[in-house]
């Protein structure tokens, strides 16, 4: 049953926890006809309840931390969390500012880190591929149990 959900393409949901938009436009550039990730069926959806992968950008600001947690809980299992950009990893250039509550993996568990400021669309695509592989492995293990 679980393996079937990965025979279809991955659906992504993107949440911005206070980023400068650099990573966001590179994510969109990965979907447009130049890098064209959409030919594999990977789309950005408008609601977390339809998503398989959660894309998080930005250092987490104080106002966005509870919303990030809520969105994470709304994404149905099995899910993978992909964190894009150096801000979420350690704060990037904004490290230890007074309005930031720490890297993303202190708030929600992260599976794949894509680093860069901003990372190129090719790097984001590789991150999504790694997430896909991880999802498939997780599904296999669940079936094997």
């Amino acid at each position: 049953m679980s393996l079937n959900s990965f025979k279809r393409a991955l659906w992504l949901y993107h949440i911005n926890t206070g980023s400068c938009n650099g990573c966001d436009i590179e994510i969109l550039a990965a979907l447009t006809p130049r890098y064209d990730v959409e030919r594999f069926g990977i789309v950005l959806v408008g609601s977390p309840r339809h998503a398989d992968v959660l894309l998080v950008t930005g250092p987490v600001s104080r106002q966005m931390a509870p919303r990030l947690k809520r969105v994470y809980e709304q994404v149905p299992d099995p899910k993978v969390v992909l964190q894009v950009g150096s801000c979420g990893m350690e704060g990037g250039v904004f490290y230890e500012s007074y309005n930031l509550v720490g890297p993303v993996d202190q708030i929600i568990p992260v599976d794949v880190y894509v680093l860069g400021c901003p990372p190129r669309p090719e790097a984001i695509i590789e991150g999504v591929v790694k997430a896909w592989v991880k999802l498939e492995k997780a599904a296999e293990q669940r079936i094997a149990k």
Binding site: R62, Q63, E90, G91, Y95, E96, S97, Y98, N99, L100, V101, G102, P103, Q106
Partner: protein, 184 residues
């Protein structure tokens, strides 16, 4: 509207404000190859004549352009600079006017100008929450950028003891904070 030269503008301020006018600095620079002149005026007035100065600027230019209010913590007082520009809309004609006002720390109040310039609302709200200057008569005194649960009495731009306390900086796990906040 008739355009005045920088010197005439300074004279008109002096005659409108009288003794409340403290000083003026004119900055000029030649730009690029054609050496066109770039002029900006910095006018220092006393707090009681502040609203009169703003009304005088409105006489020089209908709907003057207020870019931002910047504030500096100078120890005993807070210096606010209102960055105006006048004579926009024509090639090479615009003049920057920085209106400087000193507000002592034991009486941090400044009158609002949102009745003259409605667009000053956001920047006055930001000055209120970031520097702790109370803007008297502001129509909407909610916080603008800081979250609602930010502690009261903590002002990020101040350099004295009301700046953000040390426990607000979340040091990353496994790291020592190597820099010290500059406090004067």
């Amino acid at each position: 509207m008739r355009k005045l030269s920088p010197e005439k503008i300074v004279d008109s301020f002096k005659s409108a404000l009288g003794s409340d006018f403290i000083e003026v600095k004119i900055y000029q620079r030649e730009m690029a190859i054609k050496k066109n002149l770039f002029t900006s005026l910095w006018i220092h007035v006393k707090r009681q004549a502040f609203r009169k100065a703003v009304e005088h600027i409105c006489e020089l230019q209908e709907y003057p352009h207020l870019a931002i209010i910047s504030s500096s913590d100078r120890g005993d007082d807070v210096e606010l600079i209102y960055h105006f520009t006048i004579y926009y809309g024509q090639h090479l004609a615009e003049l920057s006017l920085g209106l400087r006002v000193d507000v002592p720390k034991n009486d941090l109040k400044i009158p609002t100008i949102t009745d003259i310039i409605p667009g000053a609302l956001f920047t006055e709200r930001e000055t209120q929450e970031m520097m702790g200057v109370e803007v008297v008569g502001i129509p909407d005194s909610r916080r603008l950028f800081l979250p609602d649960d930010f502690p009261e009495g903590t002002y990020p731009w101040r350099k004295d003891e009301t700046g953000p306390p040390q426990d607000m900086f979340k040091v990353l796990p496994g790291r020592q904070q190597k820099w010290q906040q500059v406090k004067e």
